[in-house]
Amino acid sequence: MVEDSYDLTKRKDERSGEYVPEDIPAERAADEVLKKVPGAESRKRKDGRVELNVPSTSIGSVMSEFKRMGYDHFVALTCIDLIKEDMFEMVYHLWSYGARTHVYVKTNIPREDPSIESVVEVFRTAVTYEREIKEMFGVDFPGNQRLTQFILEDWEGPPPMRKDFDSIRYVQDKFDIKVRNPKGLPPKWTKEGGK
């Protein structure tokens, strides 16, 4: 096994420390955030959880405030393409082990040249999620140094998870696939490829 005398031991010290969960209910944490961040609003959803809507420039301070309040498990980061309203919606999911509640933090960024500040300094877990969203949706995250190619290899086309990328059209053009039942397909199918 590895001796302790390597120069990587300082990383080993960072890995020590016991975790102490903090029990702060979601409404109180949301109120603290609303005090510090202007322009944010919160509401209680039908399923009992709390949802915040914040402006995209203040996402860094919102995240550090939640982490300070004990909401330090970063669950996921979702990007939704709202093509009709011409914007991307970014949803940050946070969980607190002490209070046992889930909080949604939603923010909107414009669809043209999208970019939002990276939260990697606050939550290290977000680094892979931002990498995937950069590849699939084309959103830039200044501050994250690991935005390299992730899943798609040798891909030259537009970001594929956007709503204006027609995957059925792409498959028909590239391969020779016969559509057996056109009635089961989404309505924007055109006549050229199938029956």
């Binding site: 096994m1 590895v2 005398s5 390597y6 120069d7 990587l8 990383r11 960072e14 890995r15 020590s16 420390g17 016991e18 975790y19 969960p21 039908k46 399923d47 330090d72 498990h73 970063f74 669950v75 996921a76 979702t78 939704i80 393409d81 949803v91 999911h93 082990y97 046992r100 889930h102 949604y104 939550f123 290290r124 877990t125 680094v127 892979t128 999620y129 992730f150 899943i151 798609l152 290899e153 594929p160 998870m161 995957s167 059925i168 397909l185 989404p186």
Partner: protein, 369 residues
């Protein structure tokens, strides 16, 4: 000291007997020790999230189990939970108990496979032979209930698909007796051996603070001492009425993670016996719209389930209509397999790379989806 060694760069995988699934690693070695590791995912990318936007709500249930191979029922469960919450459906009690039994049987079979993977990475090939042989009895049970051995397509929004056959509870108890009799044999084969101690003790150790900061969940987090389990924190299915223990260990190294899995198999056997005995009678499905005209009102929800590998979550967004607007699958290996591995591999020998991946139970399909 590491600078005196020769520098080599190799690609480990994706086809390698020690790697679980198709998952590549680009390693920079100094001598025998790993200096830097970069993961190469993407060999199993099937574009599930885009596919699910083009199929109706019920058709998605046939696609969804294929995201995770050892433990497919958690996908169906989390998807169904999210859809039921948006629609406001109430699942009957009998369906909840059947779902609990299916989820726990799937957890036992995934843990048996995971233990076999760790044994194989050490070189003890008897252990995967034994555990995969015993897993076969569980797959036979699934086949008698659902009609398929690996992909069940049985849990769907509203409840479950069919009722259980009459002689099935008796067979479940027989299979559980058999596995319970085998567990001490696994213990004396694997954990009482000096080789296991030498290889797994102190391997890739991390503490609970580091684990929570880097998104580690599931048995890996419980092996560092934190007593957290989604079945206790946010109960779903029938877990509120069932009495079970949450298994933790204090050390946080490879041996602790493996032991947590062995003890969890025993705990799951107890849960299934209680669920079979207390099964209520009643309906197995709530009233749902017909499958070709299944409409869900606008809304969104994040549903989470405790899978055998960690926290499995589905975020479903509906804008009203026949198809989902966005489905985001959050797999546990998304955090374990990329960032956590890249940070704990440096400093270890190359023969331990597959072993560390095995103790963290990284399942590549839920990274790529």
């Amino acid at each position: 000291m590491m600078d005196d060694f020769k520098v080599t760069e190799i690609i480990f995988g994706p086809q390698h007997p020690g790697i679980h699934g198709n998952f590549g690693t680009r390693l920079e070695l100094r001598g025998d020790l790993v200096y830097r590791a970069r993961m190469v995912p993407g060999y199993l990318h099937r574009a599930f999230e885009k596919l699910m936007e083009q199929r109706t709500w019920m058709q998605n249930v046939a696609i969804v189990p294929r995201i995770c191979v050892p433990d497919p029922d958690v996908n169906e469960m989390a998807y169904s939970m999210a859809v039921e919450n948006i629609m406001g459906l109430e699942v009957p009690d009998r369906a909840n108990y059947i779902r609990t039994i299916i989820l726990e049987l799937s957890r036992i079979s995934a843990h048996l496979m995971g233990l076999g993977g760790i044994g194989g990475a050490i070189g003890l090939y008897t252990l995967p032979m034994w555990t995969n042989g015993d897993r076969d009895y569980i797959l036979d049970l699934f086949e008698e209930l659902t009609g398929g051995r690996v992909y069940h397509i049985f849990i769907w929004p509203g409840g479950v698909r069919w009722d259980i056959p009459d002689n099935w509870p008796r067979k479940v108890n027989k299979v559980l007796d058999h596995i319970e009799a085998r567990l001490p044999e696994y213990y004396s084969l694997f954990f009482e051996s000096k080789v296991t101690d030498a290889r797994l003790k102190g391997l890739a150790r991390f503490d609970s603070r580091w684990a929570v900061d880097h998104g580690v969940t599931g048995p890996n987090l419980r092996a560092t001492g934190l007593e957290v389990d989604i079945r206790r924190m946010e109960p779903y299915a029938a877990y509120e009425d069932i009495d079970f223990k949450v298994i933790t260990r204090k050390e946080g190294d490879g041996l602790a993670r493996t032991l947590v899995r062995w003890y969890e198999v025993r705990e799951s056997i107890r849960i299934i016996r209680q669920a079979v005995e207390d099964m209520p009678s009643g309906e197995i499905r709530a009233k749902t719209p017909p499958p070709l005209a299944f409409m869900v009102p606008p809304g969104d929800h994040f549903a989470r389930v405790e899978s055998s590998k960690g926290e499995y979550g589905y975020y479903v967004v509906s804008k009203g209509g026949k198809f989902p607007y966005r489905v985001h699958v959050r797999g546990p290996s998304f955090t374990h397999g990329i960032d956590v591995l890249e940070q704990i591999l440096p400093g270890n020998e190359i023969s331990d790379v597959a072993l560390i991946t095995g103790t963290l139970d990284v399942c590549p399909p839920d990274i790529d989806r």
